[in-house]
Symmetry: C2
DNA sequence: AAGGTGAAGTGTCTTTGAGCCACTTTCTTA
DNA sequence: TAAGAAAGTGGCTCAAAGACACTTCACCTT
C-alpha cells in the first residue's frame, strides 16, 4: 500500500526514533602577547561540571536556521565578535563521549584578533578565559573529548599555515610584514627568512599597502592590509623553513 | 540547590528536547572506463521517492558505536567493500533541506577501485548505479541537497589531486604510471608532462615496482603499487600543469 | 626477417619560488 | 652626531616543476 509524501510527513514524528545528541563546539584562536591562545570556559552545569571545555552548545532548531548560525551564535555569545574567520573542522560522534548518550558534535575553529574582543561572562554565566596553548596541560583533563577536538583544530590551523595565507585573519586589519612573520613563526615554531617571507606575500598579490606606517624606536614599518577580508590564498609551494 | 551528576543523568531524557535529524551520506567515487563515476541510488521510500540520491541513512545509535561506523556500514551495505579510503568532508545542517524538519547530514567521500565491487541491490532494496560525473545532469534534480553534497565532495577530491597522492586509491592495487597519470589528467582536466609526473611520484618514494608488467600492443609498462595502502602523501609543491 | 608504429621511459635545459646571508636604509636614543 | 636595531633589498644557491627531444621495446605489418 502506498501513501503520498504529504501523508507520510503528517505522521512523521522525530521523537519516535532514537537519535544522537547534537552539539557544536568552538575552538576560538587568538594571539595575545606573542602566543596563540584558545578560549576555554569552565562548565557550571552537569555533566562534567567544573571542568574546562571549549565553548559550545546544542544545535537549537528554533533559534538557528543553519548549522553555521549555531556556530556564529555561540561565538557571538562568548566573544561579542560578529564576523571572524570561521571554518568547520569535523564532526565527532560516538556512544562514549558524553554520559547522556550517543552524542555528536561539530567542531569549528575561529580566528579572531584580540583587539575586538569583549569577553562576556554575562550571557551564559560560565567563566571564559584565554589560555595560551603551551599552558593547556594545566587545564586538563578537559570536559568530554574536548582535548581531541582542540587537537584536531590546532593541527588544521598549523597545516594551513604551511600553504595558505589564513593567519592574516588573526591580526588586526592593519599589520606590518614583520608582525605577520612573527605570527607565522609562532604557529610553525620555526624561524623564517625575512626576505623569503616578504617575497611570498608580496608576489602573491594578496596584500596592499595602506599608506600608513607603524612607528617604533627603530625604522618605521609599512602597514599592509589584506586585499580581500577573510580570504585565504593557497600558495603553490609550502613554507619549508630552515634547511640546515 | 545542587544535584549530583548521576542524579542529573538519571533524569535526563533526550526526547524532551528538540533535536535535528542526523544522517550520513556517502559520495562513493570510482573510475570506470576512463571516467570518474559516483554511486547513486534511486530512492524507494518517502520523502523524495523516485529521485536519485547519494547512498546514506540515519545514524543508528544501537548499530553504530561511532560515526565512522555508520559510514563504513553504509558503504559496505551498498558496495560490499570493506576497507577503502574514507574521508569526512563536512556536515550540512539547516531547517530546509529535509521536509521532515531540521536536519543535519555528515558527508563522507570514499574512493574505491572498481575491481572489488559487487553492487548489492539486495540489502536495502534501492537500486544502485554508477554515474559518470559528466552525465550527472541527467540524474537531476537530486533528492534533498545531495547535489550540493556531491559538489563539495568532488571539489575536495579535485583539490587534493593538486597536492596529494590520494587518487592512487581509485586504482587497482597494481597500476602503471601512465594509468595513474591519465587519472590525474581526468581529475584535473589538464594535460600533464610525462617526465615531470613520473619524477614527482618516483622521487616521493611512495610507490614501488611489483616486478610485473602490463602488456599491450606497444611496449609493456612496469606495474607499481602504493607502499602504504590507503595512505596519502602530501607533496611540498602543487601540480601546476602546462605553462603556456 | 625487417622495418614501421606508438607508448614507455630518459636526458637535460629552463623556470619558478624557496632558503641563505650580507648589505643598505631609516628611524630613535644616548 | 654616532650607535643601535629593525625594516627592507640584492643576488646567490637549491629543489622541484615544465618543456621537449631522444631512446627503448614489444607488437604488427608486409
Amino acid at each position: 500500500m502506498s501513501t503520498s509524501e504529504s501523508d507520510y510527513l503528517q505522521h512523521y514524528n522525530i521523537h519516535n526514533y532514537d537519535t544522537p545528541l547534537c552539539t557544536v563546539d568552538m575552538c576560538i584562536f587568538s594571539v595575545l602577547n606573542d602566543s596563540v591562545n584558545v578560549l576555554l570556559v569552565k562548565r557550571s552545569e552537569h555533566p562534567e561540571r567544573g571542568k574546562w571545555a571549549l565553548p559550545g552548545g546544542f544545535v537549537h532548531p528554533e533559534k538557528d536556521q543553519t548549522l553555521d548560525d549555531t556556530a556564529y551564535r555561540k561565538l557571538f555569545e562568548k566573544t561579542g565578535v560578529a564576523s571572524p574567520y570561521l571554518e568547520q573542522v569535523g564532526t565527532f560522534g560516538n556512544n562514549s563521549r558524553d554520559p547522556r548518550g550517543w552524542s555528536l558534535t561539530i567542531a569549528y575553529f575561529a580566528l579572531i584578533n584580540s583587539s575586538d574582543i569583549t569577553l562576556s561572562a554575562n550571557e551564559s554565566s560560565e567563566r571564559a578565559q584565554w589560555v595560551p596553548i603551551h599552558e593547556l596541560n594545566d587545564y586538563c583533563p578537559m570536559a568530554f573529548d574536548h582535548l581531541t577536538l582542540f587537537t584536531h583544530c590546532y593541527e588544521r590551523l598549523k597545516n594551513k599555515v604551511q600553504y595558505t595565507s589564513l593567519p592574516i585573519n588573526l591580526l588586526q586589519e592593519e599589520f606590518t610584514l614583520s608582525e605577520l612573520q612573527q605570527l607565522f613563526e609562532i604557529l610553525l615554531n620555526k624561524h623564517l627568512d625575512r626576505k623569503a617571507f616578504r617575497r611570498r606575500f608580496l608576489d602573491a598579490d594578496i596584500i596592499e599597502e595602506t599608506g600608513n606606517m607603524r612607528a617604533s624606536h627603530t625604522r618605521p614599518a609599512k602597514l599592509y592590509r589584506a586585499k580581500q577580508l577573510g580570504a585565504e590564498h593557497y600558495f603553490l609551494r609550502s613554507i619549508e623553513g630552515p634547511r640546515s
